[in-house]
Symmetry: C2
Subunit: 325 residues, 2 copies
């Protein structure tokens, strides 16, 4: 198979820039302020969000240097409940598109994947605070006797709150409170695509992708744990939770074409792109910007937060506490 | 196969820190000064190197803000020849270990992989200037019926100038002036391991790794183009250029053990580690620091140089020219 994507490939680099629009253009802009919990930076807040949080001074301390969750809250439960109450009020007031997608499914808020969670927050709200979030994706692929390497894509249900009707990876889901990585992969594989256990045992962990996207909803510093699953030629995924409209098996070249259209969920393209790179479809021979694209699939989110704490702000003479009180 | 590397895995994170010792601890230290050619930063220079370059003011302009190659040199050829002359003199004086490994094989000096080369330099000298360098590596692997996933490693010849007698990936080589990526992969596969064409046609491009290492020789901001090659169970690599002492096929778990010893070439471990991650041997289930390790296999070398130019130094009132003259 000899592919020449020379014309399309600059489009792939543009795609990598698109799913990293915040990493490349927003990060470091002074209007985005750090969000601190218990002295740790766990996110970034846009001016429109800060403006709304000013209405809840008993929960959020808003100052020119950032937003701090009231340090008087004693523990995980109290922090989670207090934030939840504010978010539910904001949701009623209908000020943020993001909150329309309320799911009653929580993400952990922490400084690092391994660190202790400081609070939980409804997943739809985490983008308002730029909280790092973690997901799991499965590349379902087939080595087709005539079409070569093919990938299964799903078309999201038109009733989904986010990216309705867009094309997406075969299986994907966020890591919610109380669920492990492999557990989430298996759960989503069964719910979204009815993949039986005897096929799921071939699931291979294959790395991760990290990128920092921004949309009108908010900020998305995302890390996806990536799995590959080779499927038999005659297997067809069937949705069982109502979240998928249809599935389609596409040869690699058509996958690239689809990923480059506005019909594909932007934040799902890094996983498919990484797959096509790892399997030699996108290579240094057909993609000039190969190195830059791979770098943009692994942006250093580990070191983006946590460089500055409310204490360091205080040392500079601008305590958040004194400002907000 | 259920592996539990919980104890060894923190060792893998330490290994990732080791091959990124300069990225994590040296970068940003004021004693390392930028090296400029034609207004572009192409490297970093240590104080001991700067001291030697002071002896050649007609070639290198050394000032407190960095080192600049004489901008009076007209073109690629003149720059290459002038630098070559200095390096050969320094080699005779025996001041740098790095120059003992003179190879008469040149690397291009450029700001970016795609940009025009500014000069060429003997490969042994590039680490003295912290020039970004590019290589090609092949993971030769076998799906063994009883041992599972196995990797071929080579033991470097005890007469090699760098890392003599150390274990290494099956095939690897630097991208020299005039040679392409795939071309280098094929050339090295034949020279180092006598892999026949009918097997090489299965070579799969599988991404790249980037890291920034420092040793007593110098600085290594390295990017390796990674290829995977599945080999038949009965194939045995045979060296034909005298640079390899022996080859050994090891099951994945033993590969990890070997990579963690001082007997393995540090700067070759990222390629093997990336392979073991992509093939599910090192996974989020058995490696706590999975995300951090993957980040350290893809450090953002694209943006490390080129932030500051002699012009910006001049604007700050410290022209390199005026300092060195």
């Amino acid at each position: 198979m000899s592919l020449d994507y020379q014309t399309e490939m600059s489009r792939l680099y543009k795609l990598a820039q698109k799913f990293n629009c915040f990493y490349l253009s927003g990060l470091g802009c002074p209007e985005y302020k750090p969000f601190f919990v218990e002295g740790y930076q766990v996110g970034l807040v846009r001016p429109d969000v800060m403006k709304q949080l000013l209405k809840y001074p008993e929960v959020f301390m808003v100052g020119p240097s950032g937003v701090e969750l009231n340090p008087a809250f004693r523990d995980y439960e109290e922090r989670s409940n207090q934030v939840d109450k504010v978010l539910k009020e904001l949701r009623k007031e209908n000020v943020f598109i993001a909150l329309k997608g309320w799911r009653d499914e929580n993400y952990e808020v922490k400084t690092d994947f391994l660190s202790k969670s400081l609070l939980k927050m409804d997943r739809c709200a985490t983008c308002l605070f730029g909280i790092r979030n973690y997901g799991v994706d499965i590349n379902g692929y087939v080595r087709h006797p005539t079409l070569g390497l093919c990938l299964w894509f799903q078309k999201r249900s038109p009733t989904k709150q986010t990216w309705p009707g867009k094309w997406d990876n075969m299986v994907g889901g966020g890591l919610s409170v109380g669920h492990g990585i492999l557990e989430t992969a298996h759960k989503e594989a069964m719910e979204e695509a009815s993949i039986p256990e005897h096929l799921l045992c071939n699931l291979i962990s294959a790395g991760c992708v990290s990128f920092f996207f921004e949309s009108e909803r908010g900020l998305f510093p995302n890390t996806e744990f990536v799995f590959d699953l080779e499927l038999p030629v005659d297997f067809v995924p069937v949705n069982s939770d109502g979240e998928v409209e249809t599935f389609e098996l596409l040869p690699a070249s058509q996958c690239l074409e689809k990923m480059l259209t506005a019909d594909f969920k932007t934040t799902s393209t890094p996983v498919a792109l990484d797959f096509l790179i790892r399997h030699g479809i996108v290579s240094p021979e057909n993609e000039r910007e190969y190195l830059k694209i791979i770098e943009l699939l692994h942006v250093p989110l580990q070191s983006i937060y946590g460089k500055c704490t409310p204490n360091s702000i205080k040392e500079n003479g601008t305590s958040l506490h004194s400002i907000s009180k």
